[in-house]
Amino acid sequence: MNDLYRYKVYYNSTDDFANATFLQYTYCSNDLYPFKDLGLGHLINNDNTLTTLGLEYQSHGFFNLAFPYLFTSVADNSKVFNVLSHFQYYVACGIDLLYVGLASGYIYITTDNSDKYYSVYFYGNSAPNYGVVTSNFDLRYKSSGSSVSSWAYSVYPLRARSGTSIQKDWLYMFFYDPSGKCFQAFIDDSAGYDGYKCTSSDLSVAPGIESAMKIIVSNDTPYIPSTDPYDDAGESKPGGGGGSFDDSGDDIPIPNLPALSAANAGFITLFNPSVSQLNALARYMWTDAAFDVANFKKIFEDPMDCILGLSIVPISVTTSGSADVAIGNMLISSIQFPVVSSQYQEFNCGSIPLTTPFFGGYLDYEPYTKIQIVVPYCGTFQISADDVIGKTINLVYHIDVLTGSCVAMLKCGNSVLYQFNGSCAVNIPINSINYASTIENATRIAVAIGTTVATAGAAAPAIMAGGEAAGAAQATLFNSAMTTAGATAEGALSMKPSIERSGALSSSSGMMSVQTPYIVITRPRVCVPKNQNEITGYPSFITVTLGDLTGQGYTEFDSVILSGLFLTDEEKGELDNILRTGVYL
């Protein structure tokens, strides 16, 4: 479709079009109508789909629209349109037609010969020989003769109007006025009855239908109805509420250490030797004649093949007695080492109570208060103040002493809310291959740290800029600095950059770093004028009877139900404003 004409369709049940309810737009394609003025063809339904109207091609070259069908199918308004049935030929009386921006046009309300339905025709002014309706609210019909100048006007304000033109055989025009008078303009140019015949008769008016509909024909900018991309989402409905407000949940405890470990398998033994014991082993293997290398080599190429790893872990591991050291199948009976009881060890760093809030208000929480935790061997992490404020936090490590992997679990209150992984073992090279691997690992870690530092460096100018700005402002007026920096807590904090305090420091780097985990709490420095609560009050949101606030000082109200007052309406409005602005009761 192109060049759509838009019809505004209104209805009401009283004789008051000024307050008629807009029903919908009806669109007609211009190119369906041969005169290019108006055409009827499509209807935009309430669900925005297009309905092709019941068009019939007439011998006169006009399209015929069956209005009763149209309105019945379009307007789901039974109290009005159910009366637009076939045999109620005052049907059209309830229709008002208004042309907006069009010089002319007609509405013809016709019946077929059997009076079975009514049709409405819109005619445009490009058609010659047709009169022009310039007054939209008068009934014009021709009482006699054929001259277009001999219009007669209704004495009543009519709800339908029409131009008249000479059509043949098939035109009846019905008009209806609020008084209950029905005018029938019968047009017939058949032999002996050339011209118009207008009659009238009294009809009883069905209550509520006399001004049932108004149609505005407009040549507004052609309008293509849009397609709502959320059509498929369904129509909005009221809902919500009925929640349980059950804020109970399950605790997430620190898990137990794994039950099975490499030490249980029998292929590997983990020892926890002291320095002197390690020295003794080294001496035995490299210098002691008792070590039968020839016999050992029957199974292994190199004695060092049987030493899977030597590492340093940052904890005292639990042991279960001592045992002779066996290197592969060679028992070294002269040396006994403590045996590590389990591959997995737990290390509890203790707790930090955060149960007492700093402010005792919303500033204790995100985004105003920010908390970072430095977890040795894992890194530095941002944790949410919302998760930890008001609780005791406990940090527990689970360490795999064989591989050096570790997991640090942060328990907030009764549940583990954060887990960080890292590596805490420093591998000691015991042969050339180990050494190369160790150096490679160290190099990789160094690169990682360098990258982190570079990232932090990129953020540094922002910090510096902030510092310079604050300094400059301080040089002039500190108060203005505060205002410029951000009027509210939210404003100020939103400008704060997030700083990475360190990267992941694991293994050897971790062992050289701070060995005790800690948290960094960044809180806003609140600015409270003296007696602020007396002058502006503090946040409150409670329902009160105003009399109960007597002597309670300053109050601003969100809303008040002002009832039972003898004040004028204007005074009540002023009082409402005063109560919202703040009063001392």
Binding site: F271, Y362, V401, A481, Q515, Y518, I521, V544
Partner: protein
């Protein structure tokens, strides 16, 4: 129509409901000027300059309203046209039913809840940064020697 008028010195702020005021004098026979409203009346009274000087507030019992004195015009010696505007807060509080009305507070001097974030507080740009150690850190190291072969006791 004659009016009784109590001329008052109001010592409180306009937004105080239970105002602290001192009666200057009570007059009888004030005359309502033409075309004046009950909410912004202009009344002709006879009063001394001293009394007028102290007056910033008045009360008309027939209207059951307190008024802020907005203007005072000398008509002739000792005769004044005083104009007022209803003090709706005190009138509703003292003479009407405001105490029984129900409302929801937005800010309150004593019954507050600081967990409500309404942007009341300003903060300085320099935050408070504190660090807190966990009680136990890594203070020892141990060697771990992993060898192939089963434990031999």
């Amino acid at each position: 129509m004659g009016f009784n008028i109590r001329l008052i010195t109001n010592n409180s702020a306009d937004n105080v409901a239970d105002k602290n005021f001192t009666t200057v004098t009570t007059l009888e026979g004030g005359t309502l000027r033409d075309d004046c409203s009950i909410t912004r009346p202009t009344i002709r009274i006879t009063a001394s300059v001293e009394d007028i000087q102290k007056t910033n507030y008045f009360y008309i019992p027939q209207f059951d309203r307190y008024y802020f004195l907005t203007d005072c015009v000398s008509v002739r010696n000792g005769v004044w046209d005083i104009t007022g505007k209803t003090d709706v807060l005190t009138t509703a509080w003292d003479k009407s039913n405001l105490k029984q009305c129900t409302g929801i507070t937005k800010k309150q001097e004593k019954q507050w809840n600081l967990f409500l974030n309404d942007g009341s507080f300003k903060v300085y740009q320099n935050p408070i940064v504190t660090t807190h150690l966990f009680p136990t850190g890594f203070s020892t190291q141990s060697f771990i020697l992993a060898v192939a072969g089963s434990r031999s006791t």
